[in-house]
């Protein structure tokens, strides 16, 4: 199979993720969409590694995973705390950081 | 060159003093005051040592220290003093102890409401003053443009806190209104000077680019640049030199301040306490005029000559405008601020008249203005704090109840109006003569200011000190011992500088000679050289 197809898939996944981040209000869903975008990037990295025949892309994919894992830890913790104090998981309720 | 880093130590001592003072526990604030005073006196001793070790007429920059700092950008930690720097370091080191003594109780008001256990306004006040001193000293000492720039900008921060945090509480408004005015003044001071500094930063980078381009390695070192130019390796294009010059000059003109960039000064001096106002006008602002003499003229001689006509006109406007506005003020400290603007006009006029008398006069003027304004304004501060008001109309007849206060205030006033026999006269006359020999019309117009100076000084004295005793003045106390210790030596110094300024001019004259040869200027010769003819006979 032509590896370029994987790139199309990655673009599709990224778009879905991006749309989800912008449209959905539930923090958990937004969070999942972010993960989706990250994974789309990973897919693209790996594909490029394959296309170019070196390992740079794969290494970057590992970095992304590490960062994503860290993000999950911090992000989920924030969401849980937020839910506890507001009894809501809607991101629109977290709009106090405006002037 | 000695191996002992005297210049570094002189700057480090007050900096260490600042840290030590800030670290004193909250309960021991009197100890903090004495500690800070001790450090400032130690700095004064070191400044004396610098003056003693310096050989007037010797090498241009002496006691030099030079170390690589940020090698990639050619930034060096380079210190060295010429005669003018020696004198100004002496002035700074001399004034700071008086500022501290005069402001001995200025932070006490803030001690009353103690929000938490670590609340230490007194320690902060004195530490900030020492910090300013350290930065001003190193700005006078540095011969590397970048190093200078850093401290030129950095001194704004402690000054900001001194103005905004420890303001004068003698305003006529409510507590809230005062706080608002104070923060307005402090922010205005900071923004105005930051703007000047930013433009200067662009010019500093421009200078680096030019040197990197022509010398192969970029440098900020003043001696290196001067050497390269003397050797013919460095030729700035006319346009580049002019733009970079303007960038530098703008920053210094804001700091000095020159009309029309002066409006921050009356606010800052009005809202700050009198000792802090002295620190602004007598110490920090001197860095601006000093830098004109050291950086503008030495780095950009051609551009300086090019810009001279405009600068002379602006300084002339400053002189007359400042004096006229001082006549129209109702607030004592704003009056002093406008008087200072007029005097800074004289200093800048003297620098750009490009004659030995003008520039020596200007350098001497910096010293005399520092001492005379300190004497005048610190005593005015004693007056203001007693009455709790800055408005001239709230005073009257003080002479009757507090003769010593009135007497010392009068001597300070007379110094401000340049009475012969007191320091400022010598420098003002030198500036006027130096200007006159090259630009007779400008010299004559500037001389009008001596009448205006008499007007604002004597009207202030008359309204506050003479006449029947006003309500609220009857029980005014005369000067205390601490206050006499502030006023007495300053007055003695004013008389000394007026009668025998030679020790100071000995330091200044060789430096001025070097600067004049940098800008390729010689004094205009008299039409008939009567002195030469006399000696020939």
């Amino acid at each position: 199979m032509n590896p370029v197809n994987y790139l199309y898939l990655a673009a599709l996944l990224f778009t879905i993720g991006g749309a989800g981040v912008m449209i959905r209000r539930n923090a958990i869903i937004v969070f999942m969409c972010v993960e989706l975008m990250l994974n789309a990037c990973n897919l693209a990295f790996v594909t490029f590694a394959r296309l170019h025949g070196n390992l740079d892309g794969q290494i970057f994919a590992f970095f992304t995973m590490v960062v994503a894992a860290a993000e999950v830890v911090v992000g989920l913790a924030i969401i849980v705390t937020f839910f506890r104090s507001r009894h809501s998981a809607s991101v629109d309720d977290a709009s106090l950081m405006k002037l | 060159m000695s191996s002992f880093p005297l210049l570094t130590v002189t700057a480090v001592v007050p900096a260490v003093g600042a840290i030590a003072t800030a670290a004193v526990p909250a309960a021991r604030r009197t100890a903090a005051k004495w500690l800070a005073l001790a450090f400032s006196l130690a700095t004064l001793v070191l400044a004396g040592v610098i003056a003693a070790r310096f050989t007037p007429g010797g090498a241009r920059y002496q006691l030099s220290e030079s170390h690589a700092w940020i090698a990639d950008f050619g930034v060096r930690y380079e210190l060295g003093v010429d005669g003018i720097a020696v004198v100004l370091i002496g002035l700074t080191a001399l004034l700071v102890p008086f500022v501290m003594l005069a402001g001995w109780h200025d932070a006490d008001v803030l001690e009353e409401h103690r929000p938490n256990r670590n609340w230490r306004p007194t320690q902060g006040f004195f530490a900030l003053i020492l910090l300013v001193e350290a930065m001003v000293v190193i700005a006078f000492e540095s011969t590397d443009v970048f190093l200078f720039y850093i401290f030129f900008e950095a001194m704004l921060i402690p000054m900001y806190f001194l103005i905004g945090g420890f303001g004068d509480r003698a305003g006529a408004h409510s507590e809230d209104e005062q706080a608002k005015q104070r923060s307005y003044a402090a922010v205005k001071f900071l923004l105005y000077n930051l703007l000047g500094g930013l433009i200067m930063l662009a010019a500093v980078i421009g200078l680096y680019v030019v040197t990197a381009h022509q010398l192969g390695h970029g440098t900020f070192s003043l001696p290196q640049i001067l050497q390269a130019r003397a050797a013919g390796q460095l030729h700035m294009s006319t346009t580049a030199e002019r733009w970079i010059f303007l960038g530098f000059f703008f920053a210094f003109a804001v700091k000095a301040p020159l009309w029309p960039l002066h409006t921050w000064l009356p606010n800052a001096m009005g809202e700050a306490t009198a000792p802090v106002a002295v620190l602004i006008t007598a110490v920090v602002d001197k860095v601006g005029t000093f830098a004109m003499l050291r950086y503008c003229l030495q780095l950009f001689p051609n551009a300086s000559n090019w810009a001279t006509p405009v600068i002379l006109v602006l300084s002339l406007i400053s002189i007359v405008y400042g004096a006229l506005l001082a006549v129209g003020q109702r607030d004592i400290k704003r009056l002093v601020a406008y008087a200072s603007i007029s005097h800074f006009g004289f200093i800048i006029l003297g620098i750009f008249a490009m004659t030995s008398q003008g520039q020596s006069g200007a350098a001497l003027y910096m010293v005399n203005h520092g001492v005379s304004t300190a004497a005048w304004l610190l005593v005015a501060g004693f007056l203001i704090s007693r009455r709790g008001s800055r408005l001239i109309t709230d005073f009257g007849g003080v002479q009757k109840v507090a003769p010593l206060l009135a007497g010392t205030f009068l001597v300070g006033s007379l110094a401000i109006l340049s009475l012969p026999g007191l320091g400022p006269f010598v420098s003002e006359f030198l500036v006027l003569v130096g200007t006159f020999t090259r630009y007779p019309v400008l010299g004559v117009i500037a001389t009008f200011a001596i009448v205006l100076a008499a007007l604002y000084v004597l009207v202030l004295y008359q309204r506050t000190m003479t006449g029947p005793v006003k309500a609220g003045i009857e029980s005014m106390k005369d000067l205390r011992l601490r206050e006499l210790v502030v006023a007495g030596p300053l007055i003695a110094l004013l008389i000394f500088l007026g009668v025998y300024p030679k020790p100071v001019t000995n330091y200044i004259n060789p430096a001025v000679k070097d600067t004049l040869s940098d800008v390729h200027k010689t004094d205009p010769a008299p039409q008939i050289n009567a002195v030469a003819k006399e000696t020939a006979k």
């Binding site: - | 029309p260 003569v433 007779p440 001596i450 009207v459």
Partner: protein
Amino acid sequence: MDHLIGALVGAPLLGAGILLTGGRRLDRTGHWIGCLLSAASFVIGALLFADMLGKSGSARTMTSHLFSWVPVAGFQANVSFQLDQLSMTFVLLITGVGTLIHIYSVGYMEQDENRRRFFGYLNLFLAAMLLLVLADNYLLLYMGWEGVGLASYLLIGFWQHKPSAATAAKKAFIVNRVGDMGLSIAIMVMFATFGSFSFGPVFSHATSASQAKLTVIGLLLLLGACGKSAQVPLQSWLGDAMEGPTPVSALIHAATMVTAGVYLITRSSAIFNAAPAAQLAVTVVGAVTLLFGAIVGCAKDDIKKALAGSTMSQIGYMILAAGLGPIGYVFAIMHLITHGFFKAGLFLGAGSVMHGMNDEVDMRKFGGLRKFMPVTYVTFGLAYLAIIGFPGLSGYWSKDKIIEAAFAKGGTDGWILGGVALLGAGITAFYMTRVMLMTFFGEKRWVPDADGHEPHPHEAPRTMTIPMIILAFGSVFAGGLFSLNSSFLHWLEPVTGHTEGHSPVSTVLIQAATLVVLALGLGLAWVQYGRQAVPAVAPRGSLLTRAARRDLLQDDFNHVALVKPGEYLTRGLVYLDHSVVDGVVNGTAASVGGLSGRMRRLQNGYVRSYAVSMLGGTAVLVAATLLMRGV
């Protein structure tokens, strides 16, 4: 002997230092310290005088270099003194009259709690005045010049609690500053022209400078002289200066300081001799002031202000004489010395009258005082006779010479100047007789003051009368002594130069004419104030009288022409500074603030909208990169 010159200045300076810093503990002895140091200066002066008499010719000029004051490249100012016959004359006048007035003040200021400070200021004045006449260069002279201005300021405003005194002091200083500006610019012109401002080099090369330069220097020096010597147009301060204690009026505003202008012009004779246009200006100023002061003196009811008008007028004579050039210098100085005696005597007499009359100065409330204060009456009377130029007394010798010299100038100028001087002599006789009659003759007119205290006129204590008696001797004999064998002329001639004038009319005729106008003035005054009773309230008077009471509208003119426009200018500038110069700054700040206020709306706090803007931004960046690639 030369090094003693410094001590001349040093002694009173030391006194001023001790008295002004000594504090309250010197209150009981301070005045005697002041007198002692003033007398010490006089003794040193006398010693130097004796020494000088022993020498001859150019050896009489002594110099003493103390230290280098302001050395900057070509600008070399030294603190060094030069004592020649001209300076010596002044030294003796200043220290002599000064010491007498110190002694007088011991009595006069007895009740004043600040007597120590008063003596400190007096000593300061002596030091500055001596510095002025002893300096060997113009810058040092300038220091003395402003120093006496300071002393005058301090002493006029000595009773600071009186607003009128404080205002008068300030006015005197500021008007003087205008003159000082002239002097300082003159020094600058000298430096630019000669490369020096020391007497020696400037005078010896004066003739090689261009006429225009010399005229400019001369006119600027004249401006300085006008300020210090209260000449038109800078005369307005002298009348107000009478707010000071009377000994001050006697010493500073009659005998010594106000004559500094005459000294300046005489000292600069080398410059003026080579600048005829400047000389003409000097004579015009002198002639105008001579009449101006005399007219003002006729209308004043305040005894001190009448005397102040007279001082102005007499100095007008001196300035006129000095403007005549070598035919007049000697007589200017001679009149200055005799005037020093009789005018100081008159003021001390006036002070004595005030002392006895609860500080009343209105002559309409005096009258018949000769019975109550015989010593004051006699000494004042002798000084009076001297000032009007009664034959044989001091004023006669010196004033007549000036009138003769004015005629001797020749041409139309000579006739006009001579005529003015002659007319002035007549008016002098009128107003001085008026003062004499209103004060010492006629019926007593005093009334109880506001508190109901009836004045009890009495003779002054001995510390006051002795100086008056000594000055009266001077008023009577000094002029004759100076004229004996033209001794004063020979004494000063080596310094100022002298040429005999050739009067178009015979000297005898001029002397006769002088006596006639004197008799006329005297007679007119007697008709008006001697024969008929003096009304206690001043009559309305003619237009001229009313103008003269207001000092010929000088203050009104200054107010309209200078003070008011100045006020409007400063007020306008304050507004301009606040609204335009600062307005631009604050306007910039405000517009930046407004812009950011609008930008702030973009921060709505919704994560989704931030995500959109991030995505949009990334899309723009990617598109831009691709487009750049494509190009």
